[in-house]
């Protein structure tokens, strides 16, 4: 099989958009923040740990975590902020696990730095809890081989890439994503699938992630013109 071979099933591109819904809940210090992080719905934790990915398309990546940003910038607890920034989001396959890690990190810090509880945000700078209502729908794009796949990746919005790379990880679990799944199952491109699955998408900007994906695929297309694929080696033509 080479890059122009057809997939068993075409890849259908979906996209995901978010509507922020206000919860009316707010925190003015670390204890209030912690108590609410423990009790708010998962869609709230999702919003504050993932919205940065779609909303902040800076030229450089930045910490994708509202809690860390507020704790550092408003409460001035830089050490805790750093600990929260550096939580390796990608290793958590559910929002519940991610929430537990955030809670653990804050609780440990409070034990070591009890005076941090005495710091309050000035009025107007409280942390406001917001949840994301997610809308998922199909785009007109499909891909049946690697070349088509690469072409569509250039055309879809970052929201579509977000859906298949980030949302999929939480939806499917097992640390993988829709692109890798399809590449492996439908195109027998296991090596390429693994390369994409091992990317840490949380430390790329979305546009940078798009470029990285396209380059990986491009490289595979060039290779496939030169040498046989894993599938061809495993099942040589008679």
């Amino acid at each position: 099989m080479n890059a122009l071979n057809k997939a068993k099933e075409p890849f259908k591109f979906y996209t995901q958009l978010h509507m922020p819904e206000l919860t009316g809940l707010e925190a003015a210090n670390l204890q209030e923040l912690l108590d609410l992080i423990k009790t708010v719905p998962g869609s709230v934790i999702y919003h504050h740990t993932h919205r940065f990915l779609q909303q902040h398309q800076y030229l450089s990546p930045e910490p994708p975590n509202d809690f860390a940003y507020w704790i550092t910038g408003i409460l001035g607890e830089e050490e805790l902020g750093e600990a929260l920034y550096s939580i390796d989001t990608i290793q958590y396959t559910t929002i519940l696990e991610l929430r537990d890690e955030i809670v653990r990190t804050i609780e440990n810090y409070i034990v070591q730095h009890p005076r941090s509880l005495h710091k309050f945000a000035t009025p107007g700078e409280e942390f406001h809890f917001v949840k994301s209502v997610s809308f998922i729908f199909q785009t007109p794009y499909t891909a049946s081989d690697l070349k088509e796949f690469q072409a569509v990746l250039q055309r879809v919005t970052i929201n579509s890439i977000y859906f298949h790379m980030f949302e999929a990880r939480l939806r499917i679990g097992q640390g993988t994503n829709d692109f890798s799944n399809w590449l492996e199952d439908s195109l027998s491109e296991k090596k390429l699938a693994n390369k994409i699955a091992s990317l840490d998408p949380y430390t790329h900007t979305m546009e940078n992630l798009r470029v990285t994906l396209i380059k990986l695929i491009e490289k595979r297309i060039v290779e496939s013109m030169e040498k046989p694929s894993e599938a061809e080696l495993a099942f040589p033509k008679p």
Binding site: L17, M19, P20, S43, Q57, E62, V133, S134, F135, F137
Partner: protein, 407 residues
């Protein structure tokens, strides 16, 4: 008036395509916007642009108005100021006038939308018609900063608000404890309007020439109307701290309302604070001079928004869109737009503002990077196209109570 395709070079054709798909999901639904006026004011400005673009995308969006006499609008102006937190005397008679006019509008305004999108307090009582249209969805769009509302007015409005299916606010801090769903929709700027479109260098130079502003030193600018809450005198004090170390000039430009005695007073005080410093330019810009404002922003080295209190702060959005490094107070909607050290610098005091301005003037590469980040942030979050997307998602939310919606 720009067409939806005119935005493609700015946000990408894929974004417009996504908007079209979303519009398709609203097929068969009539969206009826109601506010109090067709011209003048921010709400009319938004609807004038949004309604035709929604229609072009395929959404059956319409726009109607309520009617009211002078006494009604005098009362609602007072309500508006009071909701903003300004001290106003609100009399029982004002509430009576408000209810009388509202009842006339209930009798006269034709209500036909599947989704009723009611803007601001003036038409809020129309919700009484909901009972006669059981399948309709009603949304109250609050464009006002109600973070510290006058309790008397807010308590008067609350029973009406609670009859709506949802309310929309512009910043998280504006929301109030309510029994209904509350959504967050930030305002937006139109990148193709006179205030924000790209300008040739000659136009910028002409405006500088008009006001006799030389280009030989860095320009610090604050664009805002002459209002105590915008702290123009504080901006002059910050400039003076900067000027001790860096030779620069300051522009404070904005509208003055001739019928607003406070504005005239603030303008006079700002002029007085400027004294005879020839590097300070206090410019009253008449309304409708959007290209001049645009040019002054583009000519600036650093843009300042040192407000003591701010609504959303669209002048900040405009500055960021022009990729200008910005120093702004951490108030109102500004922290939503400026992430400290990523897309600008936030400050809390005159000396803090001066320090941040000096940092930017002395580190042009850093300033450039902040400005470019700011422009990208606005491109993704605060342009008209994002606003269109949010409105369509909001309408869809009325039919989907769940957190994850598969369309």
């Amino acid at each position: 008036m720009p067409k939806i395709t005119d935005y493609e070079p700015i946000v990408g054709s894929h974004t417009i395509e996504e908007l079209r798909i979303l519009a398709g999901k609203l097929q068969g639904k009539v969206i009826q916007n109601i506010n109090s006026t067709a011209v003048g004011g921010g709400v009319a400005e938004i609807l004038n642009r949004m309604v035709p673009l929604l229609q072009e995308l395929g959404v059956d969006a319409r726009w109607d108005f309520i009617k009211g006499g002078e006494s009604f609008f005098n009362a609602t102006k007072k309500f508006h100021n009071a909701l903003h937190g300004k001290s106003e005397e609100i009399t029982p008679q004002m509430f009576e006038i408000f209810m009388e006019t509202s009842q006339r509008n209930i009798d006269e305004v034709k209500i036909y939308g599947d989704v009723m999108f009611i803007h601001d307090p003036q038409p809020i009582v129309l919700i009484k018609k909901k009972a006669s249209m059981p399948d309709s969805k009603w949304i109250w769009r609050c464009h006002i900063d109600v973070s510290t509302p006058n309790k008397q007015v807010w308590d008067f409005l609350t029973p009406f608000i609670h009859q709506y299916d949802g309310a929309v606010f512009s910043a998280p801090g504006f929301s109030q404890p309510l029994l209904i769903r509350q959504f967050l929709i930030s305002p937006s700027i139109d990148p193709l309007s006179d205030k924000n479109k790209d300008l040739p260098q000659e136009t910028i130079d002409k405006v500088l020439e008009k006001y006799h502003i030389p280009k030989d030193k860095p320009i610090i600018t604050q664009i805002s109307r002459f209002d105590y809450l915008k702290d123009p005198v504080g901006v002059i004090e910050a400039y003076r701290l900067v000027k001790k170390r860096i030779d620069c000039q300051l522009i404070i430009a904005g509208g003055t309302a001739t019928d607003d005695p406070e504005s005239t007073k603030v303008f006079a005080e700002t002029k007085e604070a400027a004294g005879n410093d020839h590097d300070i330019y206090i410019l009253p810009i008449p309304s409708g001079s959007d290209i001049e404002i645009n040019a002054l922003q583009r000519a600036s080295t650093v843009i300042v928004q040192k407000s003591l209190r701010e609504g959303f702060g669209l002048t900040v959005t405009e500055a960021l869109w022009k990729a200008k490094p910005i120093v702004a107070s951490s108030t109102g909607g500004i922290p939503l737009q400026v992430k400290h050290k990523y897309s600008g610098l936030l400050c809390h005091s005159i000396s803090g503002a001066a320090f941040a301005i000096k940092q930017l003037l002395n580190s042009p590469d850093y300033a450039k990077r902040l400005g470019e980040n700011g422009r990208e942030h606005v491109r993704h979050n605060f342009l008209l196209t994002r606003h269109l997307k949010d409105y369509m998602l909001l309408f869809l939310c009325m039919y989907h109570p769940e957190d994850v919606v598969y369309l």
